[in-house]
Subunit: 154 residues, 10 copies
């Protein structure tokens, strides 16, 4: 009886291997980002599976993290950006969703007043995360930078 | 037969009246914010029902927007910050949720590496929204500024 | 044409009237609890609709809060303790649910080890809430006190 | 054909191994907690996967429970605190959720009256569980001790 | 402008009026059942809206409970037996559902062994509820009596 | 590379093995119950995974059903009583849920009138199932026997 | 202040009025179908709101049922065929859904074998319901008659 | 270390093997039904897992389809008739559900008028599927034949 | 007692009035579109509530459809584009969703191969609907025309 | 002990192998479509699992993509067109669903006005996708071409 071929490792499986290797080797996301030549936010999301990596980028990551060829292959698969990409009930992630829940209509109102009828792109988009020292407790400042896209009136 | 008392207008009903009055009077959120003495993001979310307003603030808004006393009363009710506060399927709001979906694990990873085990507060939190001119299309820059809270180890 | 009788005010509608009257009259929950002769936690949950009130208790509340007879009647209806009693997506309530999510298996393990196979009653149950001063920020100490009930082996 | 690397054991898998070893060796949570140098509630939740363990703590647990190195590695992974951490339909856990359902608005009202507009932290939080003897049946007293966090007004 | 006719009172609205009248008049379900000439379990479910009432039965109930003709009409409408008939999150009802959750496979196994492949009818069905005194606390004994229906093999 | 330890067989997996062995050996639940020394309803639910078994009971079952030691070990794990214990969409189980749907409010009303404000325990609970001959088709009589627990008024 | 115009009665509201009038006048569906000149199954579904009625048909129904002009207008609105048209948890309707659940794959297999790759139309469709006498209990024979539509291969 | 016994193949796994063998051998459902001595609709649903098969029937199917003994064993397991039996979102199956959605209330009304208060059994039930030639496109005629069961009035 | 102001008519309520007036006046969408000076697809979606209308456009529609001033006001409210805008279970709309279900991955693959990593905009988007005569039955050709937006790599 | 036969590779597993082989070999969908003799949209959906492939077509694909015989077998299985075929939360697919959400009622209205009461077939259906150059950014033009099917009036 022939052996049924097993479907190859997927992007999320590759991400778990990356996390394990990164820990084993004591690497930081900054270090990995430097190798990839992109900001740390983009680089992290790419290795976690949410951005497209070229073969060269995958191989760069493979060298740095000492990954098997199959994992490097998996890093070149299309990104996983749907609900499987995240656990929305994780306390840290939940609080981000809660910010959308509490301030979503405020953002809608202010965008409509400032720009008109449209949306803020999640595609033509950049993420930035900074630590801002504060004597009462340091703050995480997350910047969501998206192009305004007006509804086409035809 | 006595008339059963009708429960009073709630915060979300008050918000709808505020929006109608604001439109009728041609006011802007900036103008309303100026009267309240707070940034436009806080002031908008307060009048939409997501922040606590003091009686003085409610009356200031009442004067500016020419609101009935019952609406002013309703503005002093506790905020509505649950799922009823927003329509998560609205296209603009959805894209904010999608940002959390796509970048939630990236933010988690970077917060963990930078700050340790904890969350970014949605309570000790400030929202800022700016329009940034760009020749390829202006951008909306949304800043989520929350205090880092470490998990207590006891 | 005869007028179809309108079903009477329900417990949750009565609770909204109570909250409005309490605010208008500047009463505190402690004050209301004192009149009812029960701790503030029980008294508050009773007026919000989650405990059975006797007619005497309903009338005591009616006098103190200056309620219409129909509202007093509604206070004697059976309690509303299902999902309609609460908005689980409200940020404060959500954090209580998150405590159950994060520590639910821990509580299960420790109850099983200490008491054996059974549950902690939510019926033979008392709630207590205290403010505990703390130089780093005061704390809310919520005590859930329930009788252990072993699974019957028959 | 090269063998695709299997993603490593995760935190919840590690927890199942811990429970099996604990049973086999006849250990108690108190004993394990003593080795870790933390209260039994924190220690239990840590080994069940809801707290961060340092490598030293993981190795201490590994020695005590005679765990394979891969399980010790898995114990140092980030905590799992989302919905996968618990079965909310388990009867014991359900009753905790029901307490939130029945008393959630009461706690909200009393916190608002006592502290003002804010939440009780599930992060800066301690859990305590005591058995209290009672002639009518011993009681489980669960204490949720969280820092009050006021909503920032900016 | 003609007045749009309002759809008539429905069965669940009628049930709420019945409950209010029953309380006002101090009647018991036993007393009502006696007038209807059926056991208290059937009679209660009929007035709560889950059984078909003949016009004669509806009028008997109308006389006893002093109901308006429109309410009597509504009592003759088809029963409401879907999910709207009950709040499954009510603590008492939830425990009944939990019994099904915990013992559903046991009942399936025993029915299959005793009767063969089939179901226990919820249509050719009788409900009985008894209070059984017990020194450790009285018990509610709920009897579900349904005809076994074998799967037809054709 | 070391082999990652596989988490042990769980209670539901053990139940599937029990069912297969019982069929292979032509045993009945009555026979199994006799060996365990408990009524057939309790014994069946115990082997299906919903009751705690002592090591002695697990070994008794193991001898009777000729189970491997790992299955016997799995039988001593904590019970599985959450939603995973049952398929609520199975036609036989569904009809039990439908009985709760149709008669849940009736049971609530009658319990409240007979006992006062409280619930019928699903913990201090016994299940009984009898076949009752009937010329029109035999009937299954399921008895749910639970202790009444009054809501504590504190 | 001008009075905000109330949106007109919708199809489902019209259906409730039809049911009330039909009962009051003691009409049968057969009688109504005869007036409309269509089989009883089509006519019933049309008056319940799931088919398009011409103005002439609506007026015929209006005469027979003595309906107000606003109800006749509402009968000419587009049909309501979505989930709001039915309560899927009603016991009778549920059993129809269960037939689909239990026999859906069987029907798929047999259609595929007999007709090839395609579906049975729910649009080019006729419904028929007959009572078939049977000494063991009369039977309802429901015939679903739909055109087979092959998947287009382009 | 002993090898944990793997739970045996289940009914749905057996069905997938049956489908693969049937295809490989070029058999039709009619042919299989002939061997089982039942109509094709019953026989197909039995081999897909929704009916009880005797050992003799399972062995007959095993001979015809050249099945391994373990698959024959699995065919004698209890049927799987819950939601796992079908994919309700498959286009062909969905249209059957849509027929229930669109015509469910019509069937309810006509059954109530013709038979009285009750349901059409999905247990004492037969399925028939015929191809009816039609110049505009052949039709699938699905007959649902169920015994009427009146609600017991006790 | 002052009268609590009722929140104004919303966009969806306005749409229902538009549909009623359009029917009463025997207008077509083409005619309405001509008055608005936009294609019929845009104009229809605008009056159904999914596009922004200027005051001039709202008044043009108001004149043509003889709308009350309050309805004209409501037409200038922000669009409703969330889930409330549509009944996804309506058979016609469901088939559109099914097209996305069946062909969604095909469209993803082809867009990725042709354009690279990105999405097809639902904002910079035009809808067109044509009737194409066909001897086997006329066809509806729906064109979704959206700008490709590449994921920003930063 | 005999080895339980493993159910064969399914259509979605086959699709994952196809994608991996296509990438490895550097093939395009156009090239694959050419070999199959169908347009690229049909061919892609067929290999992703949403169309029926004949054995000849499967073998043609097998030769071109160098697939194992088991994968070729799997390509001849019935299509998978249910919810498992797609991730509706993927950003590209979500925007297609959003188009249905925003424009679903518009399409319904225009189809009803142009064709009458019926639906646009998702079965007698063709998909076309074109890249249209545009100086402001190229556009994806997706054409949904379905036969109009009128509701049968019988």
């Amino acid at each position: 009886m022939s052996v049924t071929p097993v479907p190859p490792l997927d992007r999320l499986g590759a991400a778990r291997v990356v996390l394990a290797r990164k820990k084993k080797l004591g690497l930081t996301w900054d270090k990995i980002a430097e190798a990839l030549g992109h900001p740390v936010e983009w680089s992290t999301s790419a290795l976690l599976g949410q951005q497209t990596l070229t073969r060269e980028q995958a191989e760069t990551a493979g060298s740095l993290l000492d990954l098997d060829p199959d994992v490097v292959d998996a890093l070149t698969l299309p990104p996983v950006r749907g609900a499987a990409a995240v656990d929305l009930t994780d306390p840290l992630v939940y609080r981000l969703s809660e910010m959308v829940q509490v301030y979503g209509t405020t953002i809608s109102e202010l965008v409509r007043e400032e720009f008109g009828d449209g949306i803020v792109s999640a595609i033509d988009f950049e993420l930035d995360l900074q630590r801002v020292p504060d004597p009462k407790g340091d703050r995480a400042v997350i910047t969501l930078n998206g192009k305004f896209l007006p509804y086409r009136v035809w």
